[in-house]
């Protein structure tokens, strides 16, 4: 079976269109980031409390609790500005998500206070065995540290990649690959901002995974470009690179497809904990595949064309 025979799609010729599309999407993300004053960081980075509680009625005749009732109870106990959200649980379970930002150091033990208030105010809906599904409290200091660590991780990953590609190919390939990675990460972060999703520690991990995946994709194409440039010395850079993209196209699509399918499974069946992580990967697989074809390789064409202008045409030079 074959999806594609020999294709001859003019990817390079359409690179300007692709650049325009990418620019628009990135710009939309950046506008959203500016309006929202940066990404929406989770408590991993800001410090604060995040908890998921099960409040399925347990006593006879107990009612489902409204979000407003919880808000009132918490406000009365001095916990203001809590973000409270109902989430759908399996088998009719009543789950609520409660989040607050950090209030000073953790000496106040906000999470314990929330639990106490809930136990006190809604005893008919509390089964102490199952009440706490998730409880996370991060001190502001840890948040700052994690932020620093995340930035460092991204820095080292990118540096390592540039160095490796520099060694295996040449620096320009490395820079083009990294430009494509920035493209992917910017779009993913932008989409998260547009959808109001939080950037947590695991989302940073997802971003780095996207970096790895997108790179994997890019390198397969680059590898082919490197090979073809030696093979077809008489052709122009643009057409050789276009040829390489076409040659690797079926591989690119098939690998993306299998990866997309498994990540989709993770997104659909993987449960609440992994949901946003899987979503980031889902976006990343699509964007990463796109960027290998439409960003990384065309950038190489731009680079070679500039070089050609300086040094004269490659086809003529070789003669």
């Amino acid at each position: 079976m074959k999806f594609f025979g020999k294709t001859k799609i003019d990817f390079i010729g359409k690179r300007r269109i692709a650049f325009a599309i990418s620019s628009v999407i990135i710009l939309a993300g950046i506008v959203s980031l500016v309006i929202n004053q940066g990404p929406k960081y989770s408590i991993d980075f800001t410090g604060g409390v995040s908890m998921e509680l099960e409040l399925t009625p347990v006593a006879e005749g107990a009612q489902i609790i409204k979000v407003q009732e919880i808000r009132d109870a918490l406000t009365n106990a001095g916990i203001e500005d809590a973000e409270i959200q109902e989430i759908k649980g399996k088998e009719g379970k009543q789950l609520v998500l409660i989040k607050t930002q950090a209030v000073g150091e953790m000496k106040d033990k906000t999470s314990t206070k929330v639990i106490d208030v809930i136990k006190q105010q809604f005893p008919d809906n509390v089964d102490p065995e199952t009440l706490i599904r998730l409880q996370e409290e991060v001190g502001p200091k840890i948040g700052e540290e994690l932020k620093g660590k995340a930035i460092l991780a991204i820095f080292w990953a990118l540096l390592g990649i540039i160095l490796y590609i520099w060694w295996r190919f040449e620096l320009t390939f490395g820079l083009a690959a990294v430009a494509a990675l920035f493209h992917d990460v910017l779009i993913t972060v932008g989409i998260f901002s547009l959808l109001g999703k939080e950037i947590s520690l695991s989302i940073v991990a997802a971003l780095l995974t996207i970096v790895g995946y997108s790179l994997n994709d890019t390198i397969v194409v680059f590898d082919r470009i490197r090979e073809d440039l030696k093979l077809y010395r008489k052709e122009s850079y643009g057409s050789v690179i276009n040829y390489s993209i076409n040659e690797t196209l079926s591989r690119t699509i098939i690998t993306s497809l299998t990866t997309f399918v498994v990540v989709l499974c993770l997104y659909i069946f993987g449960g609440s904990v992994i949901h946003d992580f899987a979503f980031a990967l889902l976006v990343g697989v699509v964007v990463g595949t796109y960027s290998s074809i439409f960003v990384a390789s065309p950038l190489m064409v731009e680079h070679f064309n500039k070089k050609e202008k300086k040094l004269g045409s490659r086809t003529k030079k070789k003669k």
Binding site: M1, K2, E52, G78, K90, M106, K109, S111, D116, T130, I132, R133, L134, Q135, E136, E137, V138, G139, K141, I142, L146, L152, A153, W156, A157, G160, I161, Y164, L201, S202, A205, T209, V211, G212, Y213, L215, N216, I219, V220, D223, E247, T248, R251, I254, T255, T258, T259, V261, V262, V263, C265, L266, F269, G270, G271, S272, V273, I274, F277, A278
Partner: protein, 535 residues
């Protein structure tokens, strides 16, 4: 031929080792030597709490050596407390080169008790309650101080207003007159509290936070009359929203926890509320007992407060000399509370306060939901990929499927061998690897198809396909490996888990798709005289 033999041997060894460590996952009742190493589940899958503590040196002037000792002592004491707390397989770890300690408590459903237990400094003190004149003096001093500095304590301003209205009602004078007067006489601090005749002064639940902020403010504390301190009483467990006592005490501690020999929980059998229920029996060391005897003997009729971590548990009146060095702390305790207090009293007090700086708890229901969801996602994803490969590449696709399956078993086996911990992100890494593992084979197969289309023989198409693809696969995978290593380096718990499974998966997939699948191809081509390759 010789190379092939070596390759065959390597494959055999890898497969055997993989099978050895993977089998316990799927086959029950294996002999016990076989199952000594097992894959642990992370707290996010089995449920439990992880708490990170920091020993707080902000208010101490210790040398580096003393700090190091203090951290070690804190570690030992916390380990003692946790050991007695009764959680199976707790893990207590000092974070190297920091003043931090990480505690993992598997299976814990509600961390509040553990947090309480860990965070207690366990400073036990006995102090005398101040006389009523001294109390009076303190209240007046604090009223005056707040009045003069009200702009610094904005959260107290409501009591300035409250006074004005009271004043109006009391004096029934005109507004202009009372305004100034009431401001001068505002009893800002006194009004924070409530007093009933004969009863100790109390503070309403809604004002407790304000009192705490005041007591944490060094400027405020400095203005308490010399030798005295203001302390809060214990909360009522049956009704956490009820008012709490407020005490004026002598600052000087008569006896401290260092004189304590032992503490035990006892259950009172009496009928009155005071004699019923659990209480704590304190037993002093010889020297402590003597001191206690003298103090109680000389101060009959005075009230002696028992204070733990700055909270007054009780302040009974001394009725007679206590000769045997025993004291009991009664009060409305729950059994658990009593039990936990005894643990901290016996484990000793911490050399410096510890702060909980991070806490993550996953309940057992979410944990088991996650496992089920993870397995489900992995199975469906794997089946989808396997089917796709078989349809798209036919027999060759089936070989790639063998590689994928071996790779998944390989990840689990290596994790087991390293006695690693499987976390939810770890499962995600595994699932991702399933999708990416076929990549190597896709690259190879596409090459082979190209070479076949170009008219090469099966033999040479397969050989060149594998050889040429090898470079690509290595380059592509090494970069992914770089990011995985970085993730491992910077990540905490779960993210490390993700990086580990991803890395093992990458290595495994390279082995499976390049070495294993090539061997299968070689076998196939040598043993059959077919002139068509199913790809």
């Amino acid at each position: 031929m010789r190379n092939r033999k070596i390759r065959g041997l390597i494959i055999l060894v890898v497969l055997l080792v993989t099978a050895y460590y993977f089998l316990p996952m799927v086959v029950p009742n294996l002999p016990s030597f076989w199952t000594t190493k097992r894959l642990k589940l992370g707290l996010d899958l089995q449920g439990g709490s992880q708490i990170q503590l920091e020993v707080d040196f902000t208010n101490s002037e210790l040398s580096d050596k003393e700090r190091e000792d203090a951290i070690k002592t804190a570690y030992e004491i916390i380990r003692n407390r946790i050991d007695q707390f009764g959680v199976a397989e707790p893990l207590i770890q000092r974070v190297a080169n920091t003043n931090r300690i990480i505690i993992q408590l598997p299976g814990l459903k509600d961390p509040s008790r553990a947090k309480n237990l860990i965070g207690k400094t366990a400073m036990l003190e006995f102090k005398f309650v101040a006389s009523s004149e001294q109390m009076q003096e303190t209240y007046e001093a604090m009223d005056k101080f707040l009045q003069e500095n009200i702009e610094k304590y904005e959260f107290m301003s409501e009591f300035v207003d409250a006074d004005e209205t009271e004043e109006v009602v009391d004096v029934l004078g005109s507004d202009e007159e009372t305004d100034d007067e009431s401001y001068e006489n505002a009893m800002i601090f006194t009004d924070l509290t409530t007093s009933e005749e004969g009863m100790p002064l109390q503070i309403d639940y809604k004002h407790i936070a304000k009192l705490k902020s005041l007591l944490m403010d060094p400027e405020f504390v400095k203005n308490v009359p010399t030798g005295l301190q203001i302390s809060l009483g214990k909360e009522n467990k049956d009704d956490p929203y009820s008012a709490r006592n407020i005490y004026i005490l002598h600052k000087n501690a008569e006896i401290t926890g260092t004189s304590l020999e032992n503490a035990i929980t006892k259950i009172g059998q009496g009928y009155t509320a005071k004699d019923k229920g659990p209480y704590i029996m304190l037993e002093f060391k010889k020297s402590g007992a003597k001191k206690f005897k003298n103090i109680t003997g000389q101060n009959i009729g005075e009230r002696l407060a028992i204070i733990l971590d700055d909270i007054v548990f009780m302040a009974p009146t001394i009725e007679s000399r206590i000769p045997d060095g025993q004291a009991r702390i009664t009060g409305n305790f729950t059994i658990e509370e009593c039990h936990d207090l005894v643990i901290v009293l016996n484990a000793g007090s911490l050399p410096a306060p510890v702060n909980i700086i991070e806490e993550r708890t996953v309940g057992p229901t979410l944990g088991s939901d996650s496992i089920k969801a993870g397995i489900m996602a992995a199975l469906i994803g794997m089946i989808a990929v396997i089917l796709f490969m078989m349809v798209y590449y036919k027999l060759s696709g089936f070989f790639a499927d063998i590689a994928v399956t071996v790779n998944v078993a390989f990840i689990v086996a290596v994790m087991t061998m390293l006695e690693g911990t499987l976390t939810m992100p770890g499962i995600a890494g595994m699932i991702l690897t399933i999708g990416m593992a076929v990549d190597a084979n896709v690259i190879i197969f596409e090459r082979i198809r190209e070479y076949l289309a170009a008219g090469k023989t099966i033999r040479s198409a397969v050989d060149s396909g594998f050889n040429r693809a090898l470079v690509t696969i290595l380059d592509a995978n090494i970069t992914t490996l770089i990011t995985a290593l970085v993730l491992y380096q910077f990540g905490t718990g779960p993210i490390k888990g993700f990086a580990v499974t991803l890395s093992i998966g990458i290595v495994g997939s390279m082995f499976a798709s390049i070495v294993l699948v090539k061997a299968i191809f070689d076998g196939l081509i040598t043993n059959s005289a077919k002139d068509k390759l199913s790809i």
